[in-house]
Point group: C2
Chain length 249, copies 2
Amino acid sequence: MIETRLDAVKLDGAGPVYDQIRRAIRDLVVSGEWPPGTGVPPEHALMEQLGASRMTVHRALVQLAREGLIVRRRRSGTIVASPPASHAMLDILSIPEEVEQLGQVYAYDVLSRSDGRPAPEVVERFGLKRSDKVAHLVVLHRADGMPHVLEERVIHAATVPGLAEEDFAETPPGDWLLKHSLWSQAEHAISAIGAGAEEADLLSIAIGEPCLLVERRTWNQSKPVTAVRLLYPGSRHRFVGRFGPYGQV
Amino acid sequence: MIETRLDAVKLDGAGPVYDQIRRAIRDLVVSGEWPPGTGVPPEHALMEQLGASRMTVHRALVQLAREGLIVRRRRSGTIVASPPASHAMLDILSIPEEVEQLGQVYAYDVLSRSDGRPAPEVVERFGLKRSDKVAHLVVLHRADGMPHVLEERVIHAATVPGLAEEDFAETPPGDWLLKHSLWSQAEHAISAIGAGAEEADLLSIAIGEPCLLVERRTWNQSKPVTAVRLLYPGSRHRFVGRFGPYGQV
DNA sequence: AAGTGGTCTAGACCACGTC
DNA sequence: ACGTGGTCTAGACCACTTT
């Protein structure tokens, strides 16, 4: 267990005390100052440090646990949670896991990679600036040897340290990024398009066959991290979600 | 304000008291026994009725408010909330509202309707039982006169009272259902398919053109309410969502 | 002015899991 | 056995809104 730094929790005097405590700890977590696994001080320690009652401290911690930022267990205490691997229907999900959950064997090939200033059509397709320095990758993911999804991705070198040294031989870029970068915001779009000639060839489908296109862009503190286009052959994929009128079921 | 029925709140002795209170009131709301606008008894009344402390009652009510089932205001008290009209990315949404939010003029045509035992291909397409009695509808929604989305829907007569008397001349079936039925669970699926001959004709697109297919089924207390297939021409539609690592932004 | 919810305290006992 | 979180109480004061 990573050691705790009790004095890092500082209140700002704005609003209810329980919310000050919640925001103080939340900020330590999302800023990365308390990485996953860090021990959050026990309630009695926070009580004394902050001069609040245990119920008030407890209320803040319960809310953080409900939000998924911390994990609480009796006796062993409270630690900072690992970021959730999945999120509702359209997620920052791991394609290897997605394939393995289908009971199929996962494999992938990095079809191309180029680093530096992106080509004009890449700039347009991902909404980049011409001056952005990125790695541009095309990756084909396979399930039981069959093409599963075609991934085209740019990764911003300025926000992802270690990018130049990584060759993605062991881990596909999406999964590598989960471990080597932080993100604070993401945007998804989903649409239907027909496969182009090159895409159809790589996916072993007919030109013009309907595909689901999932586009995802992520940022960390408003700095772009990565943008990806995932092309799923439509005949073989559905995204399913279940919920009730007041939230996810 | 609809009168309150304090004695309707009954605890079951299972689990924490605050959760018993929460579930008791939740059940009164989702069952329709306390319809939207009903006054929830004030905390002090629930305290006395249930023999719990105010903090415990408060905790239950705060959680219900956070879940959106009730609305609390000082002085004027707590009332049962109206069900949320929209839900996250893939919603029980109103197509008229969707079109009007795009700044376009909405119109629709009921292209066909048939009531009673559904045809075999309808049974299969919607996963019905052969004995289900349903209304089967095909509706074309237009934006600024242009085909916007093609809707094919079945509505279960057994769970939707008043269905036979409604001709959907004033309100499209999706919006009518929002006011005339309850639902407790829904399932969405999204996929890409090519337009068939008939669909292409109705949507004024080419046969085989990629479309987003949104399929939605809803139930109320495990009884089916409706199932719908919405076919959006892919070139003109994207579904977009934004969120952060710990939830919706 | 009065009724409602919002917050907070200082304690208590219990449940659970690790030591 | 012990340390942690989970629950609960009986009270207090405050903030807001309607009357």
